[in-house]
């Protein structure tokens, strides 16, 4: 009996460490097949740079998924934040980062608040409806305010606003190079994720988010204002899109309404790979980071093989389907492991 239990526990552990192991295997494969190109300081820092935006959007998406919801508006919400910076700069001549950054974040946060309000006050059946609708609304607004034109940020005097998305730093104590070109945006990610970790595990609201996701009726009858919790969740998701939008401005150097294509699916994939479930009630922030890193690594590796966008879409799409399949079988396995554990 104890042996069965041990086996179940090992299976459970494997499931939890799964993404980490896949990441390790990918590293080994890419390191062997692309020697001297994959494992270089510059390329590794590049992966982190590419991961930052997905990490930020994914953090908000995670909250929505924990409540058994989803936020499909994240991609265009982030783009809208970038476009807000562009329009304020171009049409209103604003150049102060103390106006541009708060304005972008405020616009996205408000969009998130609208998402939550539509869901909870209109009693829409599923956030799929409200956020899918908002995705189009936000896209339309972005097109409207930019008059469907791409706005370039190069040499426009707003470099201080773009700093977060652009800047890197080096760590060279005593002339010994440890890290070169570490992206500031990833430092931001680490800070945000630390805050999310504390928020989800050590605050009442964080616990309540899991409970509302696990059973909204129980939560309501236990005195938790489920609607307020949900509205807060989508507002925070909007906030994260705003921050991601600011980083995007620095990374892309343009405000382009056509560039949101993969942000929403990437964020969902990062969360699911990291252990969140469409059924709600679970998921961790560090798992999401792992999921985001995994996706960036795959993209990066494919780039090194000079695979085009076509192949990348096919591979990432397959990974998402695989991750959901694993999520489903993981649920079954966990149920089995728990059953065995009670023997």
């Amino acid at each position: 009996m104890t042996q069965v239990r041990k086996k179940a526990r090992i299976g459970d552990l494997l499931m939890k460490l799964g993404p980490l192991m896949v990441l390790a295997i990918l590293y080994i494969i890419f390191a062997i097949t692309r020697p001297g190109r994959f494992i270089t300081m510059a390329n590794q820092m590049n992966i982190l740079k590419q991961t930052a935006v997905n990490c930020l959007i994914g953090a908000g998406m995670l909250l929505a998924l924990i409540t058994a919801g989803i936020d499909l508006s994240v991609g265009y919400n982030a783009i809208l934040a970038t476009c807000t910076i562009g329009v304020l700069m171009q049409n209103f001549g604003v150049s102060s980062p103390f106006i541009l950054i708060p304005a972008a974040i405020l616009v996205s946060t408000f969009a998130g608040f609208v998402n939550g309000t539509l869901l909870t006050r209109l009693d829409l059946p599923h956030p799929f409806v409200s956020t899918l609708g908002m995705k189009n609304v936000l896209w339309g607004v972005a097109l409207l305010i930019t008059a469907s034109k791409t706005i370039g940020f190069t040499n426009k005097g707003i470099d201080s606003t773009l700093w977060i998305g652009r800047a890197t730093f080096n760590l060279r104590p005593f002339g010994l190079t440890i890290v070169e070109g570490f992206p500031v945006s990833f430092i931001l990610v680490l800070l945000v994720y630390l805050a999310f970790h504390v928020f989800l595990n050590h605050t009442a609201l964080g616990r309540q988010i899991y409970c509302v996701g696990g059973n909204p009726e129980t939560a309501r009858l236990s005195g938790i204002r489920s609607k307020n919790v949900l509205t807060t969740v989508y507002t925070i998701s909007g906030l994260m899109c705003g921050i991601a939008g600011v980083v995007l401005a620095g990374r892309l150097n343009t405000a382009n309404t056509a560039s949101a294509a993969t942000y929403d699916t990437d964020a969902i994939a990062a969360c699911i790979i990291g252990g969140a479930s469409f059924r709600g009630g679970k998921g961790t922030i560090w798992g999401t980071m792992l999921g985001a890193l995994l996706i960036s690594t795959i993209r990066n590796g494919l780039n090194l093989f000079s695979a085009g966008n076509d192949i990348q879409y096919i591979v990432i799409g397959s990974v998402i389907i695989l991750a959901v399949t694993i999520d489903v079988s993981r649920n079954k396995l966990e149920a089995r492991a728990r059953k065995l554990a009670t023997i």
Partner: protein, 319 residues
């Protein structure tokens, strides 16, 4: 049951799994008792009686199926006047006192649960007044009802009482979370102490406080819900079918918890469809039928018996 009997007459072997003892005696020829995953006994049903079965199921002798202890009736905690929900119930007026178990009897669908949900503000009402300790209250949602000292153990513990995917500790503090705040954060050692205290006093069988409640047995899940409400330190406990779907041993433990609450001067309103339970534990019974109150019977009254309560539940006059 008739279907089962018919199948039996056709010569089909039937394995009937149940913890309702009356059913077994009516239906079965032989009985097997299992406990904690082990086989305890297999006997012809004619060779065993209720007490023997209970003893085999629980593993010890239960001194009494209903260990009722009388409390001391105190002040009026809850007064309901002319409560009405269109098409569901109307003219609901009653009072509930500290130190008593007030039972609501009646057939399924007589509106008992709906009245309780309305008092708890889980559903809206269309008229009537609710007073707590003499003060008129008008709750907007369950949160306000909880703050004013009402606890509501629902009949559907999996759908409305527990978050199955969450650990025992989280479920135990679900309705009282703001008590464990320290600044902006939750005071985890405090939560741990409270959860461990609940597990000890309610004798909840769980490996750790971190186990997800989905994994507990029905009886232990029910104790977690009871613990959740006791941790809110409420005055008025509404228990809707508190022993539904749990084994005999756990039932008796629930009754002991009720005794304990009564001794502390709390008020218990118990909705129950099991008349032996009503007669065993209640100080007073209100009988409902079709959304209306039919009768109010004190323990000690000559109507405090199974026949008269059933009569009232079917719409008969007590005289």
């Amino acid at each position: 049951m008739q279907t089962v009997r018919r199948l039996k007459e056709q010569g089909i072997a039937i394995l009937f799994v149940s913890h309702k003892l009356e059913e077994l005696f009516e239906l079965c020829d032989r009985v097997t008792v299992m406990r904690d995953g082990e086989h305890i006994l297999t006997e012809d049903i004619s060779n065993v009686d209720t007490d023997g079965l209970i003893q085999a199921m629980v593993g010890r002798t239960l001194s009494k199926q209903f260990p009722k202890e009388m409390g001391e009736r105190g002040e009026c905690f809850l007064k309901v006047k002319d409560l009405k929900q269109l098409g569901v119930f109307s003219g609901i007026s009653f009072e509930a006192y500290a130190g008593e178990v007030l039972a609501f009897a009646g057939l399924v669908g007589s509106g008992r649960t709906e009245v309780m949900r309305a008092i708890f503000s889980a559903d809206k009402i269309d008229g009537g007044e609710v007073y707590i300790r003499g003060k008129r209250v008008n709750f907007k949602d369950p949160r306000q009802a909880i703050r004013r000292g009402i606890a509501f153990l629902t009949e559907d513990r999996k759908g409305q009482g527990l978050v199955l995917s969450q650990p025992v500790s989280t479920n135990l503090i679900l309705a009282s979370m703001k008590k464990y705040r320290k600044g902006m954060l939750l005071n985890r050692p405090h939560i741990r102490r409270v959860a461990e205290h609940s597990i000890k006093t309610l004798r909840i069988k769980t490996p750790t406080i971190h186990e997800v409640v989905e994994q507990l047995s029905g009886g232990n899940q029910q104790k977690v819900v009871i613990g959740k409400w006791i941790n809110t330190d409420a005055d008025i406990y509404i228990f809707d079918e508190p022993t539904r779907g749990i084994d005999v041993g756990a039932k008796v433990e629930v009754y002991h918890v009720m005794n304990h609450l009564i001794k502390e001067g709390k008020c218990i309103i118990m909705v129950s469809s099991e008349l032996p339970e009503v007669l065993g534990m209640a100080d007073r019974v209100i009988v409902m039928r079709g959304g209306r109150l039919m009768a109010e019977i004190e323990r000690g009254s000559r109507f405090f018996n199974q026949n008269d309560i059933m009569k009232a539940a079917w719409g008969g006059q007590l005289a």
